[in-house]
Amino acid sequence: MGTNESPFRVIGTPRPKIDAVAKVTGALLFADDLVRPRMLHCKLLRAPHPHALIVGIDTTRAAVLPGVAAVLTGRDLPVPFGILPVSQDEHALCIERVRFVGDGVAAVAAVDEDTALAACELIDVEYEPLRAIASIEDALATREPALHDYGDDANVHKRVALDFGGVDDAMQGADVVREDVFFYEGNTHLAMEQHAALAEWSADGRLTLWSSTQTPHYVHRALSKVLELDPAHVRVIATPNGGGFGGKSDPFGHEIVVAELARRTGRPVKICLTREEVFYCHRGRHPTLMKIKTGLTRDGRILAMDFTSFLDGGAYGSYGVASTYYTGALQTVTYQVPAYRFRGVRVFTNKPPCGPKRGHGTPQPRFALECHLDKIAEQLGVDPAEWRQRILQPPNSVTANWLRIGSMALGHCISTVVQASGWAQKFRQLPFGHGVGIACSSYISGAGLPIYWNNMPHSSVQLKLDRSGGVAAFCGSTDIGQGSDSVLAFCVAEVLGIEPIDIRVVTGDTDLAPVDLGSYSSRVTMMTGHAAIQAAVRARDVLALAVAAKLGVAGDRLTVAGRRVFDAEDPRRSVSFAEAVQIAESGQGAVGTVGSYTPPRSPGRYKGAGVGPSPAYSYSCAVAEVEVEPSTGIVRVPKVWIAHDIGQAINPLLALGQVEGSVYMGLGEALMEEMTYRDAERRMVHHHPSMLEYKTPTTLEMCDVESFLIEEAEPGGPFGAKEVGQGPLLPIPPAVANAVYDAVGVRIDQVPCAPHAVLRALRDKMKGKDGRYGPTRVPDYNFPEASLVRTPAQGGDGREANGRPHDEVGENRESTAGVSTAGVSTAGAPPQEKR
């Protein structure tokens, strides 16, 4: 736990968010709260077909409706866009083809929403329906029609095959080999705030877009591209997000549409999506079918792991290439896996596009892995908690797939929840219907690479100090409710010896603040934190230099605290912080500093190595206690114990909020959330695009949570910190499934763990059959031969070994640089020598 005496004054102390009062009083303005003079309202006309060609659109009747200012169709915005350079497959409005029920087809700006809606109904669209692709199996089996004219094959968007260390050979030496199949249903973010955006053009022809986005920088790029504007003349302001969870990480058609409508009408234009439209924006969890095979020695050492995933991507690319890699990337960072093969395929189907949701691409494989390990532990006759302790990946190591691990306190997490939950007295000992289950996980603290190839910092902070004693901190980072504005203020306050209230935070504004890539991949505390520290240290040095001269003290003897700058050896010799700035300003002129951060380079050099590397990995372990009603199959979760290896909590109050929120979201996925659709005959409509029928836990279903922050400082983290926003979700679904087995002896190998599944498995078990519910096989898919990459233990160099040296410079970076929500590959990237 480090030392008892904290070296920090602000860091590590529980404090309310800096915008907490504004939030609870309603003073904080969200995107839909914004009103501009002469503002128009926008509505979109959406496709009623899951897959169809647009034969014709006639907007004449809508355009002449009184109160309508402008009508747009896809042909007005012909430039494609998409979050990843390799998947520029979206248009602001569909041009020739619609790909899911809810795809945007036309847009109206009018004096009010009612008029805009009425105008939408007057737009005549003639469609030629196409066969809809309904499922993973359907997509793999169907060449025509294909949703897109790019991708790895027909309706296959992306396929990956990587072999680290030669899995087939390693598997040969195993005493025990086990194979399991799992399915993880899709689900969505369900942020409380519906997406909204407001666009306005200035008299001199500059565009401003306010939007509830997690990634103003990427929206800025998409707007510039599609509207063919000089990026210097586009300003994107990310308004405070009423929750994001990954659902506001893509640039969206509606953001581009209001910008174009505002240009055409010369008036501000706003759109606020309905809840149903938010379901159609989606970008949530991919439904994923998985097979996992592990070979072990008799005493429980893993020798080889072979993992295959099939992702239902929905209608567009979104972050899907990254999502695909992520389903295979992080299996190696928790336990020692000397040989590892990952094969994954993402398909296109006629449903809203999947993308990044909290944990991006990793909760599905984590569910599979941790349930698989629970079965292996039983097979080996070992306690699953104790066994995991024996096979942990060590700290300061490099995994078989070339991920560099820094601090690693998973063992501490396991022992903490084992003790707190009374595991030893409960596991396999509770009465029938009651059980406990354990699961572990890990997540990245920011992706090692940006979404588009560049050598620039991932986050930058500017500080402006002035004679008032106030400090303004400018950063492109975006507060989506996780408290990143607060973290920025805390970091600067810590270094400068002042209070968070003294810091004016200016964030999420591409005109005012330097670039931060956005609130995704759990990167903000890590990267903005580092940038803030660097800027603040530089500012402190400026002050120290000026004050040293004034006080006649050597600069290195000066220190800051309590809004004063003073001689550490004689604290009476001091000036106030404001005086210090005045002295510096008098001497050198205006006082401002900058700081920035770029993650260290990962050792992986193979194609696909861009996804997975991170400056640091967080670890979590959870024990869930469940009650299963045998007559109904209904599962209740009264309590979860969770320990999270955070390195150092910047603010334990916010960190615990993230842990509990993650447990909540994981519980919803474990028990009930489902983003599902009717069959093709029923036009693939969403089952229930409403908050009433899309089931997510209420406070009554939420479990008690006992959370522990494990603080073993991460050398690569700001003040030793690692991520907390996403990782704690990951162990919840497998812990619940494993607990259900402990309670009633049936394996529910799919998420959600629905009562009908439990009841069916119980009935089967009573009949002497396998007490299991879940998929039994994965599709026969002919993966290409996996690229062999020798592991660090084999003396590899991080590159492919079997003769597929990819052209390091010849590949087009924009089109092949792979991947990640977090990180895009680097397939074609030249080495970043500067690091």
Partner: protein, 333 residues
């Protein structure tokens, strides 16, 4: 957000004025009490009245009169929150109080009324959707379309009776008071409902439900258990209301077991009662009655959960309800 269509709003202060308003505006008018059912439906264009006649300003509709012999007369405008917390109702009609307290969420119970709950529009996953969603499947026969998507070859609509109050009303043998320009009539709750998702009420459109009459107490016990995904917010996917009348020796004299959210009306299952009559309420008779309730239940795929599991649950929840009446178990979800 979803927009309400435009409509005229009329706010009478007496039942007579409300009836007159209805007569004046004809079939384009609808009554509204709490608005928790009608307004969301209007936003989805399931109902599009030109005129909405509010009953919220009629004081006499919020009165409760009790008489030990005749029972209790509850104004149709009494809120569900009031029913759920009223000491008298909790003491003598706990099933009514519980059903009211299990409806939706606290804010909606504060607005929603017992009258509105008893007349709740039938629900279906193909019907309770926005206009645009319904348009994508060319609508359904309950509104704007021709087909029942739940059972495409069916000539009728299978939307589900989803009120928590209605099965209790039928099980208790309660009745309702319907007022119209031509007079007032009292109708047994059982006769108020009809097993059709569209024509789910026998009430004439011009009639106004003004009161709810609960039977005299003594010699019987009743309960209501509700199955749904979550402990709040959700409509029932199954409700079991049961009333059991006892002989002095403890054997069952009569019983009424009613299934909610299984058909388009609260489904009285006489066979379940037959399994109890003349026998003590014990494990054997309860199992027989639960089985009898299970057999005729034919849930359709139009609510949350799988239909096979919902049918299975009729036996379990039928048993839970009767066990609770027996006094062994405190039930409910």
């Amino acid at each position: 957000m979803l927009r309400l269509p435009r409509f005229d709003f009329v706010a009478p202060t007496t039942v007579e004025d409300a009836l007159a308003a209805r007569a004046a505006h004809g079939t384009d008018a609808m009554y509204v009490a709490g608005g928790t059912d009608l307004y969301p439906n209007m936003k989805r264009r399931q109902q599009t009245p030109r005129t909405v006649i509010s009953l919220a300003g009629i004081p006499t509709m919020r009165e409760i009169h009790s008489s030990p012999e005749l029972g209790l007369r509850i104004g149709a405008g009494v809120t569900l929150s009031h029913l759920a917390s009223d000491p008298l109702i909790n003491e003598h009609y706990p099933a009514v109080a519980r059903a009211a307290g299990l409806v939706s969420t606290p804010p909606l119970r504060n607005m929603g009324t017992i009258g509105g709950n008893l007349l709740l529009d039938t629900r279906c996953n193909y019907y309770d959707q926005t206009y645009e969603w319904r348009k994508a499947i060319d609508f359904c026969m309950k509104k704007d379309g021709e087909i029942c998507w739940v059972a495409p070859s069916s000539p009728r609509c299978w939307a589900v009776q989803s009120s928590d109050g209605a099965p209790v009303a039928v099980a208790l043998g309660a009745s309702v008071i319907l007022a119209s320009a031509t007079g007032v009539r009292r109708v047994p709750a059982q006769d108020l409902y009809y097993n059709d998702g569209i024509q789910y009420l026998t009430k004439r459109p011009d009639e106004l439900l003004v009161g709810y009459i609960l039977p005299a107490i003594g010699g019987w016990r009743a309960t209501y258990v509700k199955l749904r995904r979550r402990g709040s917010f959700d409509f029932p996917v199954l409700g079991v209301a049961a009333r059991v009348d006892f002989h002095p020796d403890g054997t069952v004299r009569a019983a009424r077991i009613v299934l909610g959210a299984i058909a388009s009306y609260p489904m009285l299952v006489p066979a379940a009662a037959d399994a109890l009559v003349g026998r003590p309420l014990d494990a054997a008779s309860i199992a027989d009655a639960a089985d009898a309730a299970f057999r005729p239940a034919q849930p359709m795929d139009n609510t949350d959960f799988t239909l096979a599991w919902r049918k299975e649950m009729v036996r379990v929840y039928g048993g839970k309800a009767l066990e609770e009446i027996k006094g062994d178990v405190r039930g409910g979800t």
